[in-house]
Symmetry: C3
Subunit: 241 residues, 3 copies
């Protein structure tokens, strides 16, 4: 399976152009957008979402990852083999959290370049063809590089921030639920949320936190919009006590 993980957004021609390349160059492999609208330009937020949202992809999936505000500058292009899956994208920190959490990991710099490489759309012109080639089982010229150079040591194990607001108004954080107890309180600004196991067990109109279906702490409200009620946006700081 080929998976697209990007901040392009669902509108406009970008996702379609990516899919057109993938389907033309690897016609036997299905293509899925696993996260099409990450917060624009927010490499750090995306880095924490990547391991959570790619963990259920089938083995041997190839994930094209494009959150790339530095496109057209001379940042490197990478292929990351992390446990059973493969990731393609820019060397800007996007893979740092994935790499930290992987058991078995190798990283390669891609030296291959297409004949026509636009300056603003390496997703379509470089990363998608590389991902399609890997999905077809080909090997591209690539040089292994040391994993330790990619780890962004200043970034914490879990990021105490909201990293995505979904269409219901639920606020996904970069705090893994397995790292905290369900007895704890989550503070967001001047408000606090208790844990509830499911939406059905939450009181209407009262925000709560729960472990979302990808293992992250998420702030939600039964039949309502938690982000609006609490004034949350991407980057809002959370605290756990």
């Amino acid at each position: 399976m080929l998976a697209i993980f990007t901040d392009f957004g669902v509108q406009g021609p970008y996702l379609g152009q990516m899919r057109a390349v993938l389907l033309a160059q690897a016609p036997a492999v299905p293509v899925v957008d696993i996260f099409p609208d990450l917060p624009p330009f927010r490499v750090q937020a995306a880095a924490y979402l990547l391991p959570a949202y790619s963990q259920y992809l089938p083995d041997n999936s190839v994930c094209v990852c494009v959150v790339d505000p530095g496109v057209g500058t001379n940042r490197r292009a990478l292929v990351v083999r992390a446990d059973s899956r493969c990731y393609v994208g820019p060397d800007n920190g996007l893979f740092s959290i994935l790499i930290r959490r992987a058991v078995d990991v190798q990283v390669f710099e891609i030296s291959w370049r297409p004949e026509q490489l636009s300056k603003s759309f390496h997703g379509r012109d470089l990363f998608a063809p590389v991902a399609a080639a890997i999905a077809r089982g080909e090997r591209l010229p690539a040089e292994e590089i040391e994993v330790t150079r990619l780890l962004m040591p200043a970034w914490p194990e879990d990021l105490m921030q909201v990293v995505y607001i979904d269409s219901y108004g639920n606020a996904i954080t970069a705090l893994r639920a397995c790292r905290v107890s369900q007895d704890g309180i989550l503070d967001v600004g001047k408000k606090s949320c208790e844990f509830r196991p499911t939406f059905g067990e939450a009181e209407a109109g009262i925000p709560f936190w729960y472990e979302n279906s990808n293992g992250l702490v998420e702030i939600a409200m039964s039949n309502g919009d938690a982000a609006e009620a609490l004034g949350l946006g991407v980057g809002s700081v959370i605290a756990y006590r």
Copy 2:
């Protein structure tokens, strides 16, 4: 064909995760989102849209239906065989109008559960695998239940409400056009709309009603946004005279 009918919205990771499961578990079957952004949590609105918007799917299609505010509580999981198609989703009224209008219908409770079942995403973990299994031609352990228990008798034959606003600002109602005459007037709040057969025959800037391409009464405006002009939203009451 596998079809997704849901209130997830086109943004975010939910549709992609559903598609990833369907494509991994039924690789030979194409997947289509027939309605990806139903009004959030509005089971009744969705129930009236389901027969209208699944009627053109090919025979033997399997439709995964997820408008499921009670996810994680102990509502049942259902498979509905209605005429030539199959539907999978929660037992919360979502299938009641479909069942009423079907000629040949059987309903089964799904007792199968996956090894890993999240509390908040049965679409991905339960309904999608069941739909994929049916699309592959497998039979799952399921117990037939009486159709009459699912009919929501308090819900009318046609719901006199707006149930969806599309991206042009057209307001889809749950009133079937075949139930009313084209001479009639549609009242919405303090405004009224006459029938026009097509957009081309309507005056610019004057809202009208017409039979949409799925057989429902829809309020529209030529080259304009009818919902904005009339102040319509999901749940706005309509009257026909």
Copy 3:
């Protein structure tokens, strides 16, 4: 490959119904949305975007083009063979710029009509089945018509307007970058933009113009929303000096 180019928007049931027809009637051919949310009803804007955004489709692709405010009136249905690709859609000017720029072009009027033709959704009922038939390699009854009748002579070679605002707030114009020098200044309202080759070479917070990855002049801002900063919308007039 089958490509969808339309103003339906990504929300709602329309794209899904198109894809369902294409996948049911041409199951071996992958389907891609190359532009799903063109500005609503803006045939002229779409006409200039079509050659730019279909140029990277594989040879022999069939592109279903639906920007069709006159649906249901008696405008003709067309098949355009332009160089290595095929286009299906309404005769309302949508193909005029594509035809002007093609080297080898033939146009046919489609006389075939489906048994059931809704008055408001020819995309699903007429254009998609025709495109699927062409993608399967079938020939439909069609009569060749003179290309010169479709050229919209009053429309300029390049349209000095914004024709799309993307999800980052970049403003795509209908001016081809190959027609202007990179030394030039782009005026938008009372503001001016200089050329920058890439986002990485632009100052944060200062709008610039660049050649986008499909060859058009685009107004952007590094890590920011150019359309908001400059008050741009579809139809905003640009000037080059």
